[in-house]
């Protein structure tokens, strides 16, 4: 498998459905040999982008290429790209084996290959059962079997763990990492930061069809996790003044939500301060210089999910649904804003 064969390049992709801009001048590169996470809130344009890469939808402008070719130019597409798209792509009345068989026949693969991929995903025993009766987990496995039919250099997976039980999630994760370890390109979308943090080596983050960030997962977590320090002291007002004087920001713990850890270990008698902009040692020195007693001094990382929410806050497509419903308006999507960082 040549390295260049697995390179996905999106250049200035634009896709508009009616008056809704789904993908707005999106450019990125997906490299072989690692799991690249495609992250964004629901409605950010992840599935649309995947469909544009696979040639199922036509972009208004821009190009998406795999190893320098558009999907339609690939000489034997399933040998280059295996795709598991979010929406079902199966006739429920057809058996798993016949579904894979017709796909294999289009490419000229031997029927024996169908049995190989059925073994790979553990569906051999139900191969002749109609897929309409399959559980979600089995359907996803069949989708992965279809994607692996051609031993492809590129694997596109759109929300592969959505709705799966923990066992299924673990299976998909291990599978993706194994596949990427063989030098293949794995491009996987998710709306869950926590899922991507444990699966992906590299991240492409989008919101409302725009690129928000493109970096390694580690860098992304480092950069987007806001550092803060929890301080508990009986002389909170004096310390807050000192912190402000030193360039930090202190907010009473009550203002923080339990979701970000603000409620953990809270002592009702000594309310805590959440300090940002100053490291823990500096806060300790400030307190010591004024002989302020500290009961607690805890450096904290904001949760990944919180960081992701903050980053994409402006780009959540349906976040405003409730307020719009109150006004009696149709919850139609707003035109994509240009307020992205």
């Amino acid at each position: 498998m040549a390295e260049a064969q697995g390179l996905i390049e999106a250049r200035d992709l634009v896709k508009v459905y009616g008056d809704k801009v789904a993908v707005d001048h999106l450019s990125f590169t997906v490299e072989p040999g690692r799991v690249t996470g495609f992250l964004g809130p629901n409605g950010a344009g992840k599935s649309t982008t995947m469909r544009l890469i696979c040639g199922l939808d036509r972009p208004q402008s821009g190009t998406a290429t795999i190893g320098g070719l558009t999907y339609a130019q690939l000489p034997r597409p399933l040998s280059t790209v295996g795709a598991l798209l979010e929406s079902r792509a199966l006739h429920p009345g057809r058996s798993a084996r016949n579904h894979l068989l017709f796909l294999a026949q289009t490419q000229g693969f031997p029927a024996q290959r169908v049995d190989e991929v059925l073994d790979l995903v553990g569906l051999r025993e139900v191969a002749r059962k109609r897929v309409g009766g399959f559980s979600l987990g089995m359907t996803q496995r069949l989708g992965i079997a279809a994607a692996m039919l051609g031993d492809p250099a590129v694997l596109l997976l759109d929300e592969p763990v959505n709705g799966l039980d923990p066992e299924g999630i673990r299976w998909v994760r291990t599978f993706m990492q194994t596949i990427a370890g063989e030098g293949r390109t794995v491009f996987v979308s998710s709306h869950l930061m926590s899922e991507m943090a444990v699966t992906a080596d590299h991240l492409i983050v989008i919101g409302r069809g725009h690129l928000i960030a493109e970096s390694s997962t580690q860098d992304f977590i480092q950069r987007s996790s806001e550092r803060s320090v929890l301080v508990r002291t009986p002389q909170a007002d004096r310390l807050a003044t000192l912190i402000a004087g030193a360039g930090g920001t202190a907010t009473p713990e009550a203002a923080a939500t339990p979701a970000n850890g603000g409620g953990a270990g809270a002592d009702p008698r000594t309310p805590g301060l959440i300090v940002t902009g100053l490291e823990a040692p500096r806060i300790g020195e400030l307190a010591a210089s004024e002989s302020i007693v500290l009961y607690e001094l805890t450096p904290r990382l904001a949760s990944l999910e919180e960081a992701f929410m903050e980053l994409t806050a402006d780009s959540v497509e349906y976040g405003d649904r409730a307020s719009r419903a109150v006004r009696g308006a149709e919850p139609t999507p707003q035109p994509a804003g240009r307020s992205m960082p």
Partner: protein, 281 residues
């Protein structure tokens, strides 16, 4: 469900030849598709049962009532246009199953989402549609040929004691083969409509409307223009080829009518292909 080992897929053991997406492969794939869903089996079963059942029933009733008192218009028509009497009722109803299956061959791909799997495998799209049309029309023609000849020989055997209709008589073989060809083109016509609307219920409604509803409505309009419009309607024109002899009111001859039907179908299939390439799947 047991966990499968998440090892890598074994590499392909056999490598395909140089012509990456040969048309033969697409034909095999479409054959697998059409024969692996139950709607195909049931629709074709319904077609055979209705066509044979009603045709035999009509012949049996005519034979039974041959010497009964009263007017028998069928007796004269058995001499002038025997295929109309033999095929008319059974295939008039049976053809509806061909219409339904022709639509469903393509619309179920859209309703189930299987179209996405199909187009991921054949992204150029037109060869997929062409292979689908070829496989469907071949299946349609095979089943139609068997059914039409079965009906012909069963019905003529039942009527033999009263009137002897054979394939050797003028126009009878042409009309019989014409009936088979009509059923083949009708299948493609339905497929083209299904591919245009991409919705099972809407597709079936339009095709059945064109077969059952529109022709009698148009024929209600007085005047020669309406008569010509009626004569050029796809299934009205197409069915002319299944007549043994030209009828007085016909605007077109049998083969002209069949040509008109083929033209309608070709235009719709071309539109279907044009839209298939341009529309998002």
């Amino acid at each position: 469900m047991t966990a499968a080992p998440a090892h890598a897929a074994p590499a392909l053991t056999t490598h395909a030849g140089p012509s990456a997406l040969g048309f033969g492969r697409l034909l095999r794939a479409e054959w697998t598709k059409i024969t692996s869903v139950r709607s195909t089996l049931w629709s074709l079963f319904a077609f055979v049962v209705v066509a044979v059942g009603f045709s035999v029933l009509v012949s049996a009733v005519i034979s039974h009532d041959w010497n009964a008192p009263g007017n028998h218009p069928n007796h004269a028509r058995l001499l002038t246009d025997p295929t109309e009497v033999i095929f008319g009722t059974g295939f008039g109803l049976g053809q509806l199953a061909i219409c339904v299956l022709g639509v469903m061959v393509i619309t179920t791909e859209y309703s189930t989402g299987a179209i996405r799997a199909s187009l991921l495998a054949v992204p150029k799209r037109i060869p997929m549609l062409a292979a689908k049309a070829v496989v469907w029309v071949v299946l349609d023609l095979i089943v139609s040929t068997i059914t039409v000849f079965a009906v012909f020989f069963l019905s003529t055997a039942i009527l033999r004691s009263h009137v002897d209709v054979t394939l050797g008589e003028p126009g009878v073989l042409k009309a019989t083969i014409g009936g088979i060809l009509y059923l083949g083109v009708l299948g493609l016509f339905a497929l083209a409509v299904g591919g245009l609307v991409r919705h099972t219920a809407a597709g079936i409604l339009i095709v059945l409307g064109m077969v059952l509803v529109v022709p009698p409505l148009v024929s209600l309009i007085p005047g020669t223009i309406a008569n010509h419009i009626h004569g050029y309607l796809p299934t009205v024109a197409g069915a002319l080829v299944a007549q043994t002899t030209q009828q007085s009111g016909d605007v077109l001859s049998g083969w002209q009518g069949f040509g008109v039907f083929c033209l309608w179908t070709a235009v719709l299939l071309a539109a279907c292909g044009w839209l298939l390439v341009r529309r998002d799947a």
